[in-house]
């Protein structure tokens, strides 16, 4: 599965996208975020306020309880405030 990161999520993780094998036990976006946060400090920092970061499955906004099975791509994008 492809993961795509935008804005300050990308800046904190240090990469724009990556391919992952979804580990067993990861069924929802929330599970995926929980697993990502365990992969290193940069992920923990990106998702420190994990409800603030929004997700999209195959370019469509999805809630944290949405299931990731069958998704080709999951994107994470945060709100921005600069004007």
């Amino acid at each position: 599965m492809k993961l795509v990161y935008f804005a300050w999520v990308r800046e904190r993780i240090g990469k724009a996208e990556e391919e992952i094998e979804v580990p067993s036990g990861v069924e929802t976006i929330a599970d995926l975020v929980h697993w990502l946060k365990g992969r290193g400090e940069e992920y923990a920092y990106a998702f420190e306020h994990d409800k603030v970061v929004r997700a999209a499955i195959d370019r469509r906004h999805a809630s944290l309880d949405a299931t990731v099975a069958g998704a080709r791509e999951i994107a994470f994008f945060p709100p921005m405030t600069g004007g």
Binding site: R10, A16, R59, T81
Partner: protein, 258 residues
């Protein structure tokens, strides 16, 4: 009232576009648009909307021009340092297009004054620099039944979308609100501000100009706008991506959490 000879010449490159033409230009002249924030996004918004001949431009900002603004806030120049941004912008509009009437609002928009401030405008463009104003404006636009074009900047990134949360989509559901996408403001300090993190100056020009296109589209009516789509601009790798979003039954305006 038909366009004068000098207006026909001024707007000639819009008038020849079939999707705009005389009727579209008349709609632009009849329209009133409130621009929230006369900074990085507000600068191109004000300039392109003034040049396009919007009849009335409202400009809301409570700040004065500072030297560190000038790297991106191209509505203002060195002589305007220390002047209120509303006053600097109003003079800029007069210089660009004397046919445009300007109204200035030199105060910060809050939940308490948002509805009053927006109520006399046809459409709102939010390029403000803080979440309190963003949520106040998007909620007020729903309650007052106003279309909203909202954009934001990060360091290398921008995003924009168009909200018509007071209307229904063709599937019978409400159109999504800003809160369907971003349900609640992040905790203070969770999202870095431009003043701390920096922002690529020309990116403000890109995103603000895209917002101006959305405003003009909403007034004239052509093509397909950004209702239900968030356009994200990644200037680090030049990726332009859109994410679709829809009405969330849990949103506090038109959903069960209301």
């Amino acid at each position: 009232m038909s366009l004068s000879t000098i207006e026909i010449e001024r707007y000639a490159r819009h008038l020849v576009i079939r999707e705009i033409g005389g009727p579209g230009q008349a709609k632009l002249r009849a329209a009133s648009v409130l621009i929230v924030g006369a900074g990085g996004l507000g600068s191109p918004l004000i300039q392109y909307l003034a040049a396009a001949g919007i009849g009335t431009l409202g400009i809301a900002d409570d700040d004065a021009v500072s030297l560190s603004n000038l790297q991106r806030q191209v509505m203002h120049g060195t002589p305007e340092i220390g002047e209120m941004k509303t006053s600097s912008a109003a003079r800029g509009v007069e210089r660009l297009n004397p046919h445009v009437r300007v109204r200035t609002h030199g105060r910060r928009i809050t939940p308490a004054n948002a509805r009053d401030t927006i109520s006399s405008y046809d459409i709102i463009a939010d390029g403000s620099d803080n979440f309190d104003t963003r949520y106040a404006i998007s909620d007020a636009c729903f309650y007052e039944g106003k279309p909203l074009v909202t954009g934001a900047l990060g360091v290398f990134d921008g995003s924009l979308t168009t909200i018509r949360a007071h209307e229904h989509a063709s599937n019978g559901h409400w159109n999504p609100s800003y809160r369907c996408l971003f349900p609640a403001p992040p905790p203070p300090g969770a999202v870095p501000a431009c003043s701390e993190a920096g922002v690529l100056g020309a990116l403000a020009g890109v995103v603000g100009s895209l917002m101006a296109i959305e405003v003009i589209r909403e007034i004239v009516g052509f093509g397909v706008g950004l209702v239900g789509r968030l356009l994200m601009v990644d200037a680090r790798s030049m990726r332009f991506e859109t994410i679709e979003y829809s009405w969330d039954e849990r949103n506090p305006l038109t959903g069960s959490a209301g």
